[in-house]
Symmetry: C2
């Protein structure tokens, strides 16, 4: 069972094709009986299709099909509609099927969320940002003298950066926008001019939107006119910021030197050793189904090794960036990137830099805020990598002379999401030892504030007027391990010392290292808050033993440097309550498909999904369990974050490692094994 017998079975997890997406759009346009405006042009007071994506089949149904005699589950789509043109504006989610020729649609909103989704929770669309920008441009015209003085600008060459959340209570939709000098071909994120504006865009009529507050260089104003007046009256301390000149843009990535001889490159002497068929890759006993959710990003299904499923679902859930600053935009910012779209912003990968030249590149399709499917070409890559490290080796010249070893070559599945300024590199790696490694590296431009006052209490100065603002990166993963079947328990191991007499003469004292093994029986015990001690070993175990009598298991090993999560006293904390736990193990529920929601960003005060509610002390012995893992790090920017944060030292993630799952290390079967001896 080394090779994968998949005959298109993995297609149950396949993202919708452009044709399928188009079919669903056509179906909705024809069957909802409502006027639908293309989301690319829709006003808040219109109805539109916000997104269409795969409705992943229920696990039970999928498994019946994959493992048994069950029928192929019907192929369905999940469509999100913004209904602004209704008496009670709301967001509605429909399951539409069966594809390729839809015949039904079911409103699943209440079933999924326990109630209707109020309209104010919807993400901000591109069209909404355009309308806000138009408002800001109009407002800027009210302070021409100020702008000329502060920024050598008439406003038109200033660019805005959104922040989020957008207020302090449910229903609020008032966003601080930070203004930057726009810089062609480089990250404007490093060139704040000191001006920030609070726009209230809650009203469904764009014409009623208003600018509520203005911030400049440490001072607050109620309007641009007010600011202009203060300037003209000489009551304003203006910091004159030069327009970035092409020659010396802070953060330019243009090479300063001619390319020299090329660095080392990988080649595959006899071509790739993995194979990609549709949405499934196979490699040395591994088979993995991959996909990309437009919102939550990369996800894998049905990860099997040697024919046995180890993980049913491994999916990114959310990426949080939480900032500190003495400017209002920065201090308010808690980006929930899933609501912006981690998957849809996973753009084309640059061959030879983002992934090796020899990698296999796969297109991803999505339908978001448009009636037409879009494609991110070559936006997921797959390759085998030479880690230039032994996976295992031993050299002996005592007793007998021999050497055995195996190179560490790893299958990597990668996508890179650019979320405005930041780039997250999502890696999923598969080792010859049966281990899965999940890693995220952060790179791209840092977000910045205008440096004023005690700014350096919130980061480092990284440019003439630029404060690199401190922030937390927290990412959340769902790992539905199914170890040797669906029924698993959680076993922990840790160490202790026992002080006792040595047993041979009983005359001396010895500190004996020993093992503490434990089964965690309930969800509350298995939810490990940050800064609380966590056992060094945590494994999903099966009821079945390996050859040596130990329960077959997979160990979860986390590598994270996370910062403290938001205090639970915060009124928005429940929206990111997954961030409380480094690891939480819950019973798998079809009704708990993800730890967050795209609606959490704009109404975190009444979270549509509150992960903490999943942890309700249910028993977790011999159940279908899910591990929810959060990783992250505190990032206090420094000069070397210019132009871009480097990946060195900025990677976090986790391993899933076989732990008495096998009877020996499966890599002994690798045909790459090397051995020689003096015999």
């Amino acid at each position: 069972a080394q090779e994968d017998p998949d005959d298109g079975q993995s297609l149950v997890f396949a993202d919708l094709t452009p044709a399928e997406l188009a079919q669903v759009v056509r179906y909705l346009q024809g069957h909802l009986g409502l006027r639908l405006v293309d989301a690319a042009r829709a006003n808040p007071s219109d109805n539109c299709i916000a997104s269409v994506e795969l409705q992943v089949p229920a696990k039970a149904e999928a498994l019946r099909f994959l493992d048994g005699a069950g029928a192929r589950p019907p192929r369905e789509a999940l469509a999100v509609l913004y209904f602004g043109d209704q008496p009670d504006p709301n967001v509605t989610e429909y399951v539409v099927g069966p594809l390729p020729t839809p015949a039904y649609h079911r409103d699943v909103t209440v079933r999924r969320y326990g109630g209707k989704v109020p309209y104010h929770r919807r993400p901000v669309t591109g069209k909404e940002y355009m309308d806000i920008n138009a408002l800001i441009q109009r407002e800027l015209r009210k302070a021409p003298r100020f702008l000329a003085a502060c920024c050598e600008s008439d406003g038109t060459d200033l660019t805005t950066l959104t922040t989020a959340p957008r207020g302090f209570k449910s229903g609020d939709r008032a966003t601080w926008f930070v203004l930057f000098h726009s810089v062609a071909g480089s990250g404007y994120y490093l060139s704040p001019v000191g001006l920030e504006v609070l726009v209230d865009h809650r009203d469904l009529r764009v014409s009623r939107w208003q600018l509520r507050h203005v911030f400049y260089n440490g001072q607050y104003f109620v309007s641009m006119a007010d600011l202009e007046e203060a300037f003209v009256a000489n009551l304003l301390e203006v910091v004159r910021v030069q327009k970035p000149r092409a020659e010396a843009v802070l953060g330019s990535m243009r090479p300063r030197h001619q390319p020299s001889s090329p660095g080392p490159l990988q080649y595959e002497p006899q071509g790739p050793r993995y194979s990609v068929r549709g949405n499934r890759v196979t490699f040395q006993g591994w088979s993995i189904t991959f996909g990309m959710n437009p919102n939550s990003g990369p996800r894998l299904f049905d990860i099997r090794y040697r024919g046995e499923r180890i993980v049913y679902e491994l999916s990114l859930q959310e990426a949080l960036a939480l900032y500190g600053s003495n400017c209002p935009g920065g201090m308010s910012t808690r980006y929930l990137d899933g609501s912006f779209g981690i998957g849809r912003f996973a753009y084309e990968l640059v061959r030879g830099l983002d992934c090796p030249y020899t990698a296999t590149y796969v297109d991803q399709h999505y339908l978001v805020e448009s009636d037409t499917p879009k494609t991110n070409q070559n936006s997921l890559c797959i390759f085998e990598h030479d880690a230039a490290l032994p996976l295992r080796r031993h050299f002996s010249d005592s007793q007998s002379f021999y050497y055995g070893g195996l190179r560490k070559t790893t299958l990597v599945i990668r996508a890179i999401s650019t979320l405005i300024n930041y780039d997250y590199i999502w890696d999923f790696m598969f080792h010859a030892s049966g281990a899965v490694e999940v890693r995220v590296h952060a790179t791209g431009y840092i977000s910045t504030s205008f440096l004023h006052g005690q700014g350096t209490d919130y980061g480092s100065r990284v440019g003439p007027h630029t404060l690199g603002t401190m922030h937390l990166h927290h990412m959340h993963y769902k790992v539905d391990l199914d170890v040797d079947g669906q029924l698993n328990s959680l076993e922990t191991q840790d160490m202790g010392y026992k002080v006792m007499k040595e047993p041979w003469s009983m005359q001396n004292t010895i500190e004996r290292l020993y093992l503490r093994r434990k089964r965690l029986e309930r969800e509350d015990e298995a939810a490990f808050q940050f800064n609380a001690p966590m056992p060094r070993y945590l494994s999903f175990v099966s009821p079945n033993p390996n050859k040596w009598g130990h329960p077959r298991g997979y160990r979860i090993q986390i590598i994270s440097f996370a910062g403290d999560p938001l205090p639970t006293s915060s009124p928005m904390e429940r929206a990111i309550s997954w961030g409380r736990y480094q690891l939480a193990v819950t019973r798998r529920k079809e009704e708990e498909p993800s730890s967050t929601s795209i609606y959490n960003q704009n109404d975190p005060w009444t979270p549509t999904v509150a992960f903490a509610d999943f942890i309700n002390n249910e028993t977790i012995t011999n159940e279908d369990l899910v591990a929810w893992i959060s990783v992250g790090f505190l990032h206090v920017p420094h000069a070397e974050d210019i132009p871009n944060t480097v990946t060195v030292g900025n990677g976090v993630g986790f391993f899933l490692r076989p732990y008495n799952y096998f009877d020996e290390d499966p890599s002994v079967d690798s045909p790459d094994s090397i051995y020689f001896s003096s015999e």
Copy 2:
């Protein structure tokens, strides 16, 4: 100053050449006025040369030479002599110089250790092990019927494994030896037969050594005859262990399958981009001097980037493996590998597996327990590695379309030490971002005990009679950072939340993330015990600011999963008191060259060097400071540790990252930078 102007200056740190080693031996043989026996043949009651190695020049002297007009320091050796043939047997250390033609030798023992080094502290030599083995073989002959029954053996096919320490108080030299079936061409470490013997080899007359205790399968006996008697009287529960058969040896690394197509390989299109001259390597602004201490292992000196020294010394100090078991050998074991010889056991590297084919391989020479120098050919490798990851990248399609990035190619310096069963892979990596990465991976054979009774309270069963015993790996590094000069301070940063009114309307509450910066003024504050909270950012900073006003610094970022160190109540804890601290920053002292001593293993109860004494609350502001870093992990073996522990998930280490040291990321100057835009 990108390129290194080194004209053989780095040779002040060069390990002694075979010719130099031979010169020192000849000089000692001619000038000590004592009968010296070749250590390979010497009895405890003889005098012998235990080792000769480079005496590293004092830092002040070396820096005067490297940086100023100072003369080249005289080249000197450090010779360790075991004086067993003296009225007061002792270990004496001499500095011998100047090379190549020695003219003087100075006894530095008292200066280095504050007193004479008692003879009983000396490491056990190969000859001593041979004599012990002969004793054990003689003893085994006293239990022929037992051995035939338990082990299908007459004793001659059993192999011993030493443990350490060797007793419970200063002066003790009584070692538990664990017996294994010897296995040709594979690790016998996995085949314990259940028999262990305690040999007292304290007396300088080998003839007086004695077997003190015998352990078999959970029971203790005072002699082999006693054991035999119990067996014959049928009072012994014997577990019949078959002799390993060639076809099915537990832990065999012989490939089971024909090689298939080769995996990805690296090539260098225009050859290597680094250059190695003698003991110095240069690469893209980096220059590093490397060497290998026969005891403590790999070490680097004078690490410079762009001509500026960042680290004066980066050296491994010690590797500890501390075991738990219900067998006496295992439960007693606290190996201090430095006393066995981390450097001398760094053997030849296998091209294409231990390092890439294209790597540069360097020989290392040493003189230990012999009058003749030995060479470990190709035992250190240097290569540039394609990490197949961007070092940095950003893709933009908002505002303007552009892409900038840089591949992560890394210079790696590697050695691999085989310490009996275990193999440690020592990596030192140098990045285009100015960061140094230090990493150790563990592989090789686990150490095991015979499975009996409640054995699985100490690990996992991994074979028919084999218990993979739990243990801690702890490694200690000395990092003498000199950041922008020798005078540095230690700055920490961490985060907090402040709950306050938002400043624009003062109507809502906001949790503001902010930075806590601190200078640690004294050694006691800068000694971070395990499990005590450690600030997330710790940097060595210079008094001088970068362009943006922040003190130029390098950050220390540790990646470790260490287990709890031995309780301080243990009478041997002071010998490994470096293990208390994840990080300790002390004032650099010429008299505190290392955190441990090769004499600590055999007399840990009166440690020759006790690291904890370095921490005596001296001020550490604007001083020459050293960071002492310990990393490690708890290893509870499992079936997949057979045949060998894999490196996946078993790597720990640390980064040294520029932190406001530069004015921007130095990688912007890399000729490998890529940029394109739509302009």
